[in-house]
Amino acid sequence: MLNLLRKIFLLDLIQGLWVTFRYQQPKYIYTEQYPAQRPKIAERFRGAPRLNINPETGETLCIACNLCALACPENLIVVGSERDEKTKRKVLTTFTYDISRCMFCGLCEDACPVDALELTQDFELASYSREGAIWDRQMLEEGPRPTKYAW
């Protein structure tokens, strides 16, 4: 009897409608007006790579040990180095990082013994060409540069 009444008066549907009705004025609005409103990125976010430099001397922190290149599952890091004749130490010459193949797993960052290579919170990695996705040492140190046009 009670079940029949519930059926006749559509109580199950009204119960569901009441749930949606309660959200007439939601407390939190989850939609983000993206370019105007920037998302909050977590501190540990793994985004664009950066090659850190010593802020006082402007020299790179990288010791050209090649561990990041060995750790990378996709072999997308190429470290170029030459031996300094005076100090007998390896000096970094070139560093390329192909972000088009990167899956941001963070293994290179973990492998770095001097915290030179770091994945930053920057997530806007679009470029106009495939070559633009291959970052050289200058780009890794200074951050991505916006494309400039002649006009």
Binding site: K7, D12, L13, Q15, G16, W18, V19, T20, Y30, A42, E43, R44, F45, R46, A71, C72, P73, M103, F104, C105, G106, L107, D110, L119
Partner: protein
């Protein structure tokens, strides 16, 4: 597909997918129909095949860990846990208790996230659009916790072989606790929307019945098996990562139909919250990384480790030839095995029920095809 290629005049072969939105990805199902009735189905898979098992043979053990996240991408943490446990067993490495507890918290959070995606998309397939938005809203909170913990939201790469790479962040405990407190009333809300709803019951009740014998014959695991009334959960049957310390129940159904699977998964979300709370209460201190050699070179041998992923038994079979790279990695994905039962569940049903059955199996094509 049933025998014989000649069709009766009333029979019709219909392609469903691979671009059909309710096949949850790129599954193609060839339906043989008699009017509206399904008399046979055949799955065509492989549209998302990336050769993950072959990739493993060219990567070192730690290097392969990010790839397993890309199989079942809605439950990436569970995949990572299974792989790490397998390699740890091969190495004979003990994982510190703190790392184990944090692993349990994260995998249970991921179980909730995976079930939320399932609930939202399954309800969407059936025609209830509202739960999708609510489920995504709660899942967002879980993904935020993942992002703060390990820096990625979906393909997390949260665990490393031997333990964890990252220590918990400052507000980790309070964030997870706040999520647990917030989440339980929301589950009641989903139930208010769906459990008593006559359309939902009408679409799901007695659709896609798979009894316990059939489940065992097909190797079906996870919520499908439990909905058929079998109390089988690897977290209880073969406890791993310290699951034996936690007190939780295995929800089971009785009829083994789609509606029971829905109830089982809803209950599982509640049980996951219970496990998370216990793990947080007894979160031990100490190191988070076990004694793992710098170069991971397991001894010659083979190992099979399986865990209870959100979708069923997820197993890793790894053969080591003593080098830094695995000789062979075979993954036993739950979705792939569960998908076999689609034909059995669809026969005699209507075309609209095929959508329900695909939804209720909870497949992720990234895992089916690998």
């Amino acid at each position: 597909m049933p025998d014989g290629t000649f069709l009766d005049a009333t029979e019709l072969v219909l392609n469903m997918g691979p671009q059909h939105p309710s096949t949850h990805g790129v599954l193609r199902v060839i339906l043989k129909l008699d009017g509206e009735k399904v008399i046979g189905t055949e799955c065509v898979i492989g549209y998302l095949h990336r050769g993950v098992e072959k990739i493993a043979e060219n990567r070192t053990y730690p290097q392969f860990a990010p790839y397993v996240d890309r199989m079942d991408y809605v439950a990436a943490v569970s995949n990572g846990l299974g792989y790490c446990l397998a390699v740890e067993k091969l190495l004979g490495v003990e994982v510190p208790p703190r790392a184990q507890a944090i692993r349990v918290i994260l995998t249970e959070l991921n179980r909730i996230a995976s079930h939320l995606i399932w609930l939202g998309t399954h309800a969407l397939d059936v025609g209830a659009i509202t739960p999708l938005f609510y489920c995504m809203r709660e899942r967002e909170e879980i993904l935020n916790i993942f992002e703060k913990y390990c820096g990625a939201r979906l393909t997390t790469h949260a665990f490393r072989i031997g333990g964890l790479q990252y220590e918990t962040y400052d507000t980790f405990e309070s964030d997870v606790r706040a999520f647990c407190d917030m989440f339980l009333p929301k589950v009641d809300e989903y139930e208010e929307l769906l459990t008593g709803n006559r359309i939902w019951i009408g679409r799901l009740r007695n659709v896609g019945i798979l009894n316990a014998e059939d489940c065992k014959a097909y190797g079906v695991t996870g919520p499908l098996l439990r909905a058929a009334g079998v109390k089988w959960d690897l977290r209880k049957a073969q406890p791993y990562s310290g699951y034996e310390q936690y007190d939780f129940e295995i929800p089971t159904g009785t009829r083994g139909d789609s509606y029971d699977r829905y109830l089982v998964r809803i209950q599982e979300m509640r049980q996951s919250v219970r496990i998370i709370r216990q793990a947080l209460d007894g979160l031990p201190g100490g190191p988070i990384m076990g004694k793992v050699p710098k170069v991971i070179k397991p001894p010659v041998g083979e190992v099979y480790v399986s865990i209870e992923a959100p979708k069923g038994e997820l197993g890793y079979y790894i053969v080591s030839d003593g080098s830094t790279q695995p000789y062979r990695v075979r993954v036993r994905p739950p979705s792939f095995v569960n998908l076999q039962a689609l034909d059995k569940m669809c026969r005699g049903a209507l075309v609209a029920d095929v959508v329900v059955v695909i939804g209720t199996i909870d497949i992720v094509l990234g895992e089916v095809d690998r």
